[in-house]
Subunit: 128 residues, 6 copies
Amino acid sequence: MTNDVFERGLAIRKDVLGAEFVEKSFAAADDFNRPMQELVTEYCWGAVWGREDLSRKTRSMLNLAMISCLNRPHELKMHVKGALKNGVNRDEIREIFMQVAIYAGIPAGVDSFRIAREAFAEVDSAKG
Amino acid sequence: MTNDVFERGLAIRKDVLGAEFVEKSFAAADDFNRPMQELVTEYCWGAVWGREDLSRKTRSMLNLAMISCLNRPHELKMHVKGALKNGVNRDEIREIFMQVAIYAGIPAGVDSFRIAREAFAEVDSAKG
Amino acid sequence: MTNDVFERGLAIRKDVLGAEFVEKSFAAADDFNRPMQELVTEYCWGAVWGREDLSRKTRSMLNLAMISCLNRPHELKMHVKGALKNGVNRDEIREIFMQVAIYAGIPAGVDSFRIAREAFAEVDSAKG
Amino acid sequence: MTNDVFERGLAIRKDVLGAEFVEKSFAAADDFNRPMQELVTEYCWGAVWGREDLSRKTRSMLNLAMISCLNRPHELKMHVKGALKNGVNRDEIREIFMQVAIYAGIPAGVDSFRIAREAFAEVDSAKG
Amino acid sequence: MTNDVFERGLAIRKDVLGAEFVEKSFAAADDFNRPMQELVTEYCWGAVWGREDLSRKTRSMLNLAMISCLNRPHELKMHVKGALKNGVNRDEIREIFMQVAIYAGIPAGVDSFRIAREAFAEVDSAKG
Amino acid sequence: MTNDVFERGLAIRKDVLGAEFVEKSFAAADDFNRPMQELVTEYCWGAVWGREDLSRKTRSMLNLAMISCLNRPHELKMHVKGALKNGVNRDEIREIFMQVAIYAGIPAGVDSFRIAREAFAEVDSAKG
């Protein structure tokens, strides 16, 4: 599965989640999960993130709001880090998660704040 | 319940959802739902929408994504119309709901597109 | 499927949802949905509603909160009417749905208030 | 967007949902929802439904279970009809929705039974 | 943000979740999450928990049911402990989670029982 | 609570989840969770899994799809192992979770793949 959309998706995915993480994911893939890695890269990162009309910063903001509502902590932490790379600052992340608290409920908001603080701590500690 | 946060919320709510709609909601309220109308106005529209650090346009975009995930068609249609007022254009709404389709699943995306088209038709027909 | 638990469930279900409604449901059942009618009656109404340690009033209050979160409007309207029969008054229903608005988010709260008002209108009109 | 995966998806989508319905969807598409129609056709129907290792009958069964849990009545009705075309019989649909009732809760089960009966009635009436 | 509703909320929150926990939360707050701490205290604990018409015991019972449905284990454990403080006994908690199992599905029920047992163990061990 | 349906459920539950696990669950049960253990065994495993018209393999496949959508990782891991016992192979599990990714969204799919790999690793290591 190598085509233009896949290649565009691979480049964007590396930009947002980090080249090392993405390369490790493909290297660790086996027959069980390789088709999933390819699907995610081509369709999610190529066919949708690769579209114009919304900036990467806006797409990251939407993802933080959605993944909070969908209640997926592993993915949320990864996308908090990706959002920082895409230029969403910590004040904006606070505002997004306060809006989550209103629309998806206080427990969704509280969980998202805790995960964001974990993500920030990991980012700060990686920077030394 | 009249205080600064409530008043700020009332003004923003009227801007986004339309003054006529909001006034009708309060006029139609009885002892059963008046406390809810007041809570929504103060807490949602005053204490959160009234905060700085995110533009109204961005808040509308987040709402479209979240309310799609939360699967609330009545609220979604109202916020599609509010988003148009806040400067989100139809191309951007398409992009938001395609991103919903990827992150919350195809049925969430398909439902949101159908509701958006209903909202657009109502807006276009109101304009004559 | 007639046994003690089923019979107890049938009696409670008739008390809460109305004997006429329940009898009509069984009369209208065919090979497709009769096993489901029986499962619901025995398992939901007999094995759980039939337990002691919580009053029917409390069980109705829990149901209003849960079915709002689960986003099932048909079932919610039926259980609003059932709650009134079980002694939950309209002020208490308002409080439950305001708590829903905080914990499950504003759209869940707004939808539940709208459905409650529809249920009240139907109950009031049936009384003449 | 014409490529092998899209073409394969288009053929499967027509088989399962009906050629007339799919052609009407594309004919009615405008700049707003055409990209979504293309994404769904290529990604959902081509890249996933087009994969081997699961029969169409099994994929339909999974969809009924999932779309019940996801609480999307429009999509569920369409996929009940699609499941009948893919060889899932009414007894099997009953079993799927009873399992939904246990794992996703009684309200999810009850809603799914009601929608299935509506779908059956429409199918039976179309047959004359 | 000090006003009557906030102060009432702060007192209730300390009563239910423990003064030490709440004070530690505020002491640990920074510019990122302080606004969220304030929002939760004022609106959730002041504007809603502070209302009359439902006892704290009933509000705790509703929360256990809702937070189980919303699938938020951290918040659920905290509210199991809060419920014990508000006079909900362990038999009643069992009944609530059996009703969750019926309405939100077996996996929701099983998860909630596991979390309750963890909360009980922590409470028992804190007592020595 | 010993009756035919309970006994049938107990046997099926032991077949699918392992006799040792089920016996340990009952042995560890106390007054708090024994009624839940009994309810699950009789209704979930006896009254539904014990029905004909769907094979155990098909029921396991439905469960993997549903429990992914319902976002319950503990239960999902247990049912991945149960599915292997019921004859669902790893290629089929991959296909189920790719279909989850499309219908319930990428984060649901990614989480399910990660949990499946953990389950496979535990199964492989138990085999030595």
